[in-house]
């Protein structure tokens, strides 16, 4: 279709107000990676099955490969770049290091996003496996990931008293 308008979209990404132009149906993952240079979000299947592209939209995990750019209008977005920093790791990132939870690494940003949300929600540790249902990993067999997330939840609850 020749008629392909570009719209101006304002949102907050990782706590910073951002503005960009994009066709409304451009995928949010492409905006994040290609237009805004936030390459931490990975693309796996591109059809909402694998969760590698998970981000937090309005505080809830979604697959950014299925989110049209227009849906970012006015939204609060957190990508993996907004979780911790090299000097001050998020509890989930430290737990992934401690438990050897990453192998090839493609699923890791999405796993960490969903796990950070679980920590924020103070999810019971026995719900971790079920809640990671939308994040597929072809390397680890999941045990090390689930242990890490459970440890992060326990650590976060401990530190908050």
């Amino acid at each position: 279709m020749s008629h392909r308008p570009v719209v101006r979209i304002s949102c907050t990404i990782n706590g910073v107000a951002r503005e960009f132009k994009a066709p409304p149906m451009r995928r949010l993952i492409d905006v994040l990676r290609d237009d805004l240079g936030l390459m931490g979000t990975k693309e796996g299947c591109g059809e909402g099955e694998c969760g590698a592209c998970s981000i937090l939209l309005g505080g809830e995990p979604v697959n950014s490969c299925l989110v049209p750019a227009i849906q970012a209008q006015g939204a609060d977005i957190t990508t993996i770049e907004g979780i911790g920093s090299p000097g001050l790791r998020h509890a989930v990132q430290q737990a992934f290091l401690d438990h050897g939870s990453a192998q090839c690494g493609i699923c890791t940003p999405g796993m960490v996003i969903t796990a950070a949300w679980m920590v924020e929600k103070k999810l019971p540790a026995d719900e971790v496996a079920r809640t990671l249902a939308g994040n597929l990993c072809r390397c680890t067999g999941y045990s090390a990931i689930i242990e890490a997330v459970q440890a992060a939840i326990v650590a976060a609850q401990g530190s908050r008293g």
Binding site: P24, M25, E47, G48, P61, N63, A133
Partner: protein, 327 residues
């Protein structure tokens, strides 16, 4: 990686605008709410659209309201909300359970109830890319004239994989629809037709606005059971909702709604077991009844005969789950 072809998107601000846009653009327009079903379908060429009409900013589609002895759930309500809503959990626990079993948290945070009820049908053949299907000349549902899962079949038998449809049929849900001719009500069970190409029997230009569910009486319980190879993401390969109405420890009526068989759920009346106690014997009989009356096709993965036996098992387990009804 399959790319979505450029599409024009309209974002109506209310229901009247949405209906007007559908009327203006006719058959080339498709509705999009959460997008988790329609976007992959468009990419795979399972469905076509020239224009998308987004329902995301339509306020009339949102909300869960308890009123006049029924629960009214806006079609745009996200599945994650339905799975955790206090009123749904209190009055329609099997619906909350079914919503919690759809796909993954990410999908449930985007996907809506209306989208799950209007889910496109799929089979082992159609659920591939256009390029892949073209190698066999397409099929009944994709530019072809031959069914590759039931050779010789004239009707498309792609299955409805909705988790919420069987359970809402068992609860006796009705739909509020708005179209160019105005509003109308439709029993959910009548939404579905037998042809997988056009299984959602909405009139052209009609929008599903809300689902109304009468609050079950104290003796009514519904159970939903889903079987798939993986516990996450997968569509059901066997799914069944069982409703039992019980008074003074005896069955007074019931409904069985099985999904993932055909383009529409298979709905069976259980009235002939009225007067029976809800016990292991009844569970076994109803399992056998489902086995006798449902014929899974080789349209979705896994052996059809296995799924037929599995359906009987799931029905039996559903009845046993419900057998703890205090009488």
């Amino acid at each position: 990686m399959l790319r979505l072809s450029p599409l024009h998107l309209h974002q109506p601000r209310d229901l009247a605008q949405a209906v007007a846009l559908l009327a203006e653009h006719g058959p080339q327009a498709r509705l999009i709410a959460g997008g988790t079903d329609v976007l992959p379908s468009l990419k795979l060429g399972q469905t076509q659209a020239g224009v998308l009409v987004s329902l995301r900013r339509v306020p009339e589609l949102l909300g869960i309201d308890l009123q006049d002895g029924q629960l009214r759930i806006g079609a745009g309500t996200r599945l994650a909300e339905i799975a955790t809503d206090a009123d749904v959990l209190a009055h329609l626990p099997a619906l909350a359970h079914a919503a919690s079993r759809v796909a993954s948290p990410q999908i449930r945070n985007m996907g809506t109830l209306g989208g799950n009820l209007c889910l496109d049908t799929r089979c082992r053949f159609i659920n591939q890319s256009d390029l892949w299907r073209e190698a066999l000349g397409g099929c009944l549902k994709s530019h072809g004239s031959e069914c590759h899962v039931v050779p010789g079949g004239q009707n498309c038998v792609a299955a409805l994989s909705s988790d919420t449809a069987p359970v809402l049929i068992a609860y006796g849900a009705t739909l509020e629809l708005l179209g160019p001719q105005g509003t109308r009500e439709l029993a959910l069970v009548d939404l579905y037709g037998a042809d997988g190409r056009h299984h959602v029997l909405l009139q052209p230009g009609e929008v599903l606005v809300a689902v109304r569910v009468p609050l079950p009486g104290p003796g009514t319980r519904v159970a939903y059971r889903k079987w798939a190879v993986r516990k996450s993401i997968d569509f059901p390969l066997v799914s069944v909702a069982v409703r039992l109405d019980v008074a003074a420890g005896r069955l007074t009526g019931g409904t069985l709604a099985a999904g993932a068989l055909n383009p529409r759920p298979r709905v069976l009346d259980l009235a002939k077991w009225a007067g029976r106690a809800v016990d292991a014997d009844l569970a076994a009989e109803l399992g056998q009844f489902a086995f006798d009356r449902c014929r899974p096709l080789p349209n979705v993965p896994y052996d059809a005969e296995y799924r037929r036996e599995r359906l009987a098992v799931e029905v039996r387990r559903a009845v046993l789950e419900l057998g703890v009804i205090p009488s």
